[in-house]
C-alpha cells in the first residue's frame, strides 16, 4: 500500500516483523535535569497480532508510542538512540513529509481522552471526512459518504443523522468510537491504542474492546495495546511486554506470563490486584513507589521494591535474559522468581 517506501531503505538488521522498535532511547530535558523516559526498549508486532504493553504511569509506555507515531514534543523530548522500523524502513531516518504519509495510512493511534483528541469546533463527520480529503483527495460529498460508512462500521447508531453533530454531543463511549473510526479510516496496518478504555465505564469498555477485536479480525491489523489494566490484557493480548522505569522487564506470550511470571515486578503486580471471581484473597502490596525518572536507582530500577534483591541488583543493570524462544526477563534472578523463592 505504501509504495513510496523503497524496500532497501532499512538497515536490514530487523527480524522482518511489521513494526519493530529496537533499543529506543528517549530523554526529556527539564529544568531540574534529564529524565530518561525510555531506556532501550525493543518490541515488535506482526500483522493480526496483539501486543500489550503493560506498565504504570511513568513507565515509558506512552512515550514509546508517541515516538513511534512521531508526535513526541521535541523539545523537551529528545530521541537519544535506537530505531523504529515499519516494514523494514527506519522511521526515525525518514524526512517529515514521508513520515506524515505513514501516519494514518501505515500506523494510526487512538488515545485515552477522546474529548480532547477531537476538535471541538468541527462536526465529527467533517473530522472523519477530512482524513479522506487530505490523504485520498476525495470530494466533499464522497468523503462525507465514507465518513457515514465508517461511523456505521464502528456502530454509532443513526450515523446518518449524527454526522453533523459536534464531539460534546456524544457520550464518552461514542466519542471513543468516533476516534476509532478516524484511526481506521485509511486502513492502517498497525493500530496503537493508548489506554483506550481507561476513561470509560466497564460495560462501555467491554463494547469498545469487542469493537477493536472485531476490526482487527476484519483487517488483520497489528494492534499495540498500551494499558495498565491486567484484566484487559488477559482478555485480548497475544504477547505482552511489561515496562518499568523506561525499560522492558519481561516479554512473554499471554498465557505464560500469567501462569509463570519471571520478573518480580510482574509477579508482584499479578498478586496485588483483586479479582472479581475470587473472595478473600490476600493482596500482596509491592512496597515503595515507582521510580523518579530524574533519579533512577542504580542497577535494576526495581531493586528498592524487590523481594529478590541482592547486591548484584544494586550494582549491575540486568540484561534481558532469554528464557525460551519468545520469553525474556530483565532480572538477574529470574530462575528464583520462577521457582518462587524470595530471599
Amino acid at each position: 500500500m505504501i509504495e513510496v517506501l523503497p524496500e532497501s531503505a532499512g538497515s536490514g538488521t530487523g527480524s522482518g516483523a511489521l513494526l519493530e522498535v529496537e533499543n529506543l532511547h528517549v530523554e526529556f530535558h527539564t529544568r531540574t535535569g534529564v529524565a530518561k523516559a525510555v531506556n532501550g526498549v525493543t518490541y515488535s508486532v506482526d500483522a493480526g497480532e496483539t501486543l500489550a504493553v503493560l506498565g504504570e504511569s511513568g513507565s515509558g509506555k506512552s512515550v514509546t508510542a508517541q515516538t513511534i507515531m512521531g508526535i513526541l514534543d521535541i523539545p523537551p523530548g529528545k530521541i537519544a538512540g535506537g530505531a523504529i522500523r515499519f516494514r523494514g524502513v527506519d522511521l526515525l531516518k525518514l524526512p517529515e513529509d514521508e513520515r506524515r504519509k505513514i501516519r494514518g495510512e501505515g500506523i494510526a493511534m487512538i488515545f485515552q481522552d477522546a474529548l480532547s483528541a477531537l476538535n471541538p469546533v468541527f462536526p465529527v463527520g467533517w473530522q472523519i471526512a477530512e482524513m479522506f480529503r487530505i490523504h485520498r483527495g476525495m470530494s466533499r460529498a464522497d468523503a462525507k459518504k465514507k465518513a457515514i460508512e465508517l461511523m456505521d462500521r464502528v456502530r454509532i447508531p443513526a450515523a446518518k443523522d449524527r454526522v453533523n453533530d459536534f464531539p460534546h454531543q456524544f457520550s464518552g463511549g461514542m466519542r471513543q468510537r468516533i476516534m476509532i473510526a478516524m484511526s481506521i479510516a485509511l486502513d492502517p496496518e498497525v493500530l496503537i491504542a493508548d489506554e483506550p478504555t481507561t476513561a470509560l465505564d466497564v460495560t462501555v469498555q467491554a463494547q469498545i474492546m469487542e469493537l477493536l477485536a472485531e476490526l482487527q479480525r476484519d483487517s488483520n491489523m497489528g494492534l499495540i495495546l498500551i494499558t495498565h489494566d491486567l484484566g484487559v490484557v488477559a482478555d485480548v493480548a497475544d504477547k505482552i511486554a511489561v515496562m518499568y522505569g523506561g525499560r522492558i522487564v519481561e516479554n512473554a506470550p499471554v498465557h505464560e506470563l500469567y501462569r509463570n511470571p519471571t520478573h518480580p515486578y510482574t509477579k508482584g503486580l499479578l498478586e496485588s490486584i483483586p479479582r472479581v471471581d475470587l473472595k478473600g484473597q490476600e493482596l500482596y502490596a509491592i512496597k515503595g513507589m515507582p521510580p523518579n525518572l530524574l533519579q533512577m536507582p542504580t542497577g535494576c530500577a526495581f531493586h528498592p521494591r524487590c523481594p529478590y534483591k541482592q547486591e548484584k541488583c544494586v550494582s549491575e543493570v540486568p540484561p534481558l535474559h532469554t528464557i525460551s524462544g519468545t520469553r525474556s526477563s530483565a532480572c538477574h534472578f529470574w530462575r528464583e522468581v520462577l521457582d518462587g523463592d524470595a530471599q
Binding site: R31, M289, P291, N292, Q295, P304
Partner: protein, 295 residues
Amino acid sequence: MSEANEKTRSLWHDTWDILKRRKIFWISLVLLVLFLVMAAFPTLFTHKDPEFAELARSMEPPSKDAWFGFDLQGRDVYARTIYGARTSIIVGTLATLGTVLLGGVAGVIAAYRGRWIDSLLSRVGEMFLGVPYVLGAIIILGTVAPVQSNPTKTMIMGVVIIVLAVLGWPVLMRIARSAVIQAKHQDYVQAARALGAGPFRIIFKHLLPNSLAPILVYSTITIGSYIGAEATLSLLGIGLRSPVISWGIAIADHTRYIRTGAHAMLFPAAFLSLCVLTFVMLGEAVRDALDPKLR
C-alpha cells in the same frame, strides 16, 4: 526516596526558587528599590528645593550644576523629578490597595456566596467596566467631586486615588472571584466542610491562600498602570495639580515647549516610563514563577 536531602518546601518557597534565577526579576527589583528609596528619602539624591523658583533661569538647558536643566518657572528639573517619585509611588500604591480591598472583598463575597449576590455584584462590576476609564474619570473629577478653591496636597492626591480605585475595582473583583471559585471546587474545601469548618476558616485558611497568587500578580502590574493613569489624568488637567509635584504635571506643563526646551518634559517622562515598566516587569516575573505550567 531522597528522604535526607528533601526538606520542607512550601509552594511560595518553590516560587522564590524560580524567581531568584530570573534576570528580569533582579533588574526590576533593583529599580523598584531605587524608586522606593527615591520616594522615601529624596534628599539622598538632591539637596535642592524643588519648590524654589528663579524665573530668570526659565527653561535653561541641562548644565553641570543642574543636570536636567530648569523648567518654565525656573525650578530645578532634577530635583522635581526626584520628588515626583514619591507622589507616583503613593498614588499608585494606595490606589491599588483600595482596588484590592474593594475588588477583593467583592470578589470573595460573590464567589463564596454565589447565587443572587454573585449576579448582582457581577452586573454592577460590568456597569463600571462599561464606562471608558478616562471618560469615567472626567465625569467624576469634573462633576461629582468638584474640589474647593484651596485644596491641600493630601486632598488633591486623595481624590485621584479614590477615583482610580473606584474605576478599577471590577477587574480585580473578576480575578478574585474566578480564583476563589476555582479554589472553592477543590476537594480540600469539601473535606474541610465535611470536618465541620465554618465559613471564616474556609475563606481564610483554604480559599484566600490559594487565590492570592493571581491577585498578587495583578496588583503589582496595577501599581504600574495606575502611575501611568495618574500621569494621564494630570496631563489632561483633571488629575493632580500644583502644589503637588508629579511627573504627570511636569509633562503637562511643558508639552507646548517640546521644541524649545524638551528637557523639562523628557526627563520626567523617562522616569515615568521606567517606573511603570519596573512594576509591569516585576509582575510578569512573579506571574511566570507562579505559572504551574512551567513546573
